[in-house]
């Protein structure tokens, strides 16, 4: 089972991203997803940058996959996806539009925002040429097991990071500044870890990242890597988090290689996370809960 590095979901700006991917060339991950999933208005990497970074990562032995927008609701967004799909790398589709545009393109990945909730959906996707499925984060271990045990398609599971919970036409970061998406001032740049949403009791609940809502807690499945491996999962995804991703990757690699036990792995992850951990839907409970499986 290999580690993958998911796409950067936040707006870190071009310089930070260039630096991030330069560092990533040395990280022990097999696959790196680059490209924009959340909002085309961010001024991050250009398509040329993406190609250059992709080539550098390939030289470092990484498999490079370009991720695409999850919500495509106007011509500008659709053009953005069409352009991304033309890049000389396999594509991760996060909307049916990208599945259509990339028809016949090799190495197509159905991303976590394609609703691959069951065996029949996965088999359908396989039938149209998809070669890897990233399970939606809302699936439990049992649901993933039921699919992975029956299909021969390559599967990937989101194991670490802020959970992507929702997308909207509305930019929630702009809304907090009294603006609309269409006249946004790129305020998400000020929140490289997302903008915290706390309950009226000051309990951190969500973060907003432009048009995306994420979990305030970080999903962490480092205790479950052996189980996932036994289930036949091919890849596990770490979702980039500002300033700590390289350290997180190293902990996961040490755990995967059996160099450290779960307990030590958790001890090393703890200082890398400010808000706390959850297990998402892995145990079939509410996403924010943090359980130890018996």
């Amino acid at each position: 089972m290999d580690l993958t590095l998911g796409p950067v979901l936040f707006d870190w700006g071009r310089d930070k991203l260039l630096e991030f991917y330069k560092e990533a060339t040395g990280w022990p991950v097999s696959d790196i997803y680059i490209g924009e999933v959340v909002c085309h208005r961010k001024r991050g990497l250009t398509l040329d940058d993406t190609v250059k970074i992709g080539e550098e990562l390939q030289k470092a032995g990484k498999k490079v996959i370009v991720s695409t927008l999850a919500l495509v609701s106007d011509d500008t967004e659709l053009e953005y996806v069409r352009d991304a799909c033309q890049l000389p790398f396999p594509i991760e589709a996060n909307d049916a539009s990208a599945l259509q545009i990339t028809k016949g393109k090799k190495g197509l990945v159905a991303g976590p925002h394609i609703t691959s909730y069951n065996y029949d959906s996965v088999e359908f996707l396989k039938g149209i040429g998809v070669s890897r499925v990233v399970f939606p984060v809302e699936l439990s271990m049992d649901a993933m097991k039921a699919i992975a045990g029956n299909t021969d398609i390559e599967t990937e599971v989101f194991v670490y990071g802020k959970l992507p919970l929702a997308f909207s036409w509305r930019c929630y970061t702009s809304r907090a500044f009294g603006l609309l998406k269409s006249n946004c001032k790129l305020d998400c740049r000020k929140y490289p870890e997302g903008m915290m949403i706390e309950t009226m009791e000051k309990q951190p609940l969500f973060i907003v990242n432009g048009t995306q809502v994420m979990s305030a807690l970080t999903m962490n499945l480092i205790d479950n890597l052996d189980e996932l491996k036994k289930m036949g999962i091919a890849k596990v995804r770490i979702s980039p988090q500002y300033g700590v991703t390289g350290d997180v990757v190293k902990v996961f690699k040490d755990r995967l290689d059996g160099n450290i036990a779960s307990e030590e792995a958790n001890d090393r992850l703890m200082p890398l996370e400010k808000t706390g951990f959850c297990n998402g839907w892995y145990h079939g409970k509410a996403g924010w809960e943090n359980l130890i499986r018996e």
Binding site: T115, W169, Y172
Partner: protein
């Protein structure tokens, strides 16, 4: 001229009859299980009710659609497949599906079945429409509430697939089918359990002069006596954002785009949908009657269409206190 078709919600047989009697062209409904996105207790139709509902609607020249629009997990797909089989046998006029596995089953087994794509499939651009058309032969897409009318018009100019849009009722601010807020807090969402923010997790508690509303022990709002809250879902909660209490996602609002009927008709939209299978028979009767009047009035003399104050009053009175909004139909 082909008129805007009026699709109205029915949570039970009396509501279906109320919809048809008050001018709906279509009543849409669901089975009594997790195959539909309004899987509420005491709601929805038995096979016998559907049979009677279909007979009633067809006798008046009207249609019935069945929503089988959630995502099966584990071995549950057979329950969804059974729902498709039943819908076919019941001779409903269309099934509204969302999941690729269920779509494939319906297309392979019943090539003549009329398949619509649910809003739960989040299909909002021409490439996605072509994807679902080529792979499953869908005849209609229910658009998620993420587009302006101008964008809908541009989309319609590129496809012969029918477009249905939401006109009235509860408003999802996040794209349906990809929103896990409810399941993050409770473990259950529309996608998997057919329910957003299940009532068994909701608590109302008076603390001092405040009403505290929580969902599975997470505080969603704290109201003073003069404040109002619609049914509590995560997206309608009030939170601290940068130290200020704020409706971070949306104000308590309901969609009412009746005034846009001329623009929606001009955009080539085929059908208007009213949200609210969970609402009462009197809600269905009131909003159907009002919308019917407005649509008919428009077609009598399109250039002179003017909103009547009664329509505004009647439709807004159905919103249980939340304010009307045009959502993103004019600007984003």
């Amino acid at each position: 001229m082909k008129k805007l078709e009026l699709c109205c919600p029915a949570g039970n047989l009396p509501s279906l009859k109320a919809a048809i009697d008050n001018g709906a062209d279509v009543a849409y409904l669901g089975f009594q299980n997790a195959t539909n996105a309004r899987n509420f207790e005491g709601l929805n139709f038995s096979l016998k009710d559907i049979e009677e509902g279909v007979a009633y609607a067809h006798s008046k020249g009207k249609k019935v659609f069945i929503a089988i629009n959630t995502f099966p997990q584990f071995d549950d797909a057979k329950v969804w497949f059974q729902a498709v089989d039943d819908a076919y046998k019941l001779k409903v006029d269309a099934v509204i599906l969302a999941n690729m596995g269920v779509l494939r089953y319906a297309r392979d087994k019943y090539p003549d079945m009329n398949l619509h794509l649910s809003v739960q499939a989040s299909c909002s651009n021409i490439e996605s429409i072509n994807f679902y058309k080529e792979n499953f032969g869908i005849k209609r897409v229910v658009l998620p509430r993420v587009m302006t009318v101008d964008e809908m018009k541009a989309l319609k100019s590129e496809t012969d697939v029918e477009l249905e849009v939401f006109a009235l009722g509860g408003l999802c601010i996040n794209v349906e089918g990809r929103c896990y807020l409810s399941s993050y807090v409770t473990g259950i969402s529309c996608n998997t359990g057919g329910v957003c923010s299940p009532s068994r997790f909701v608590r109302f508690e008076n603390v001092g002069d405040k009403l505290r509303i929580s969902l599975n022990k997470i505080l969603l709002n704290e109201l003073s006596a003069d404040e109002f809250s619609p049914y509590p879902t995560c997206c309608k909660g009030r939170y601290y954002v940068d130290g200020k209490p704020f409706y971070a996602f949306e104000e308590p609002e309901s969609l009412n785009v009746m005034e846009l009927i001329p623009r929606l008709a001009d955009a080539g939209i085929d059908a208007l949908k009213v949200e609210g299978r969970q609402r009462s028979k009197s809600y269905v009767a009131l909003v159907t009657k009002t919308l019917r009047e407005a649509v008919d009035n428009y077609y009598q003399d399109p250039p002179r269409f003017v909103m009547k104050p009664d329509w505004i009053k009647q439709s807004n009175s159905s919103f249980e206190g939340s304010a009307p909004t045009l959502g993103c139909y004019l600007k984003k």
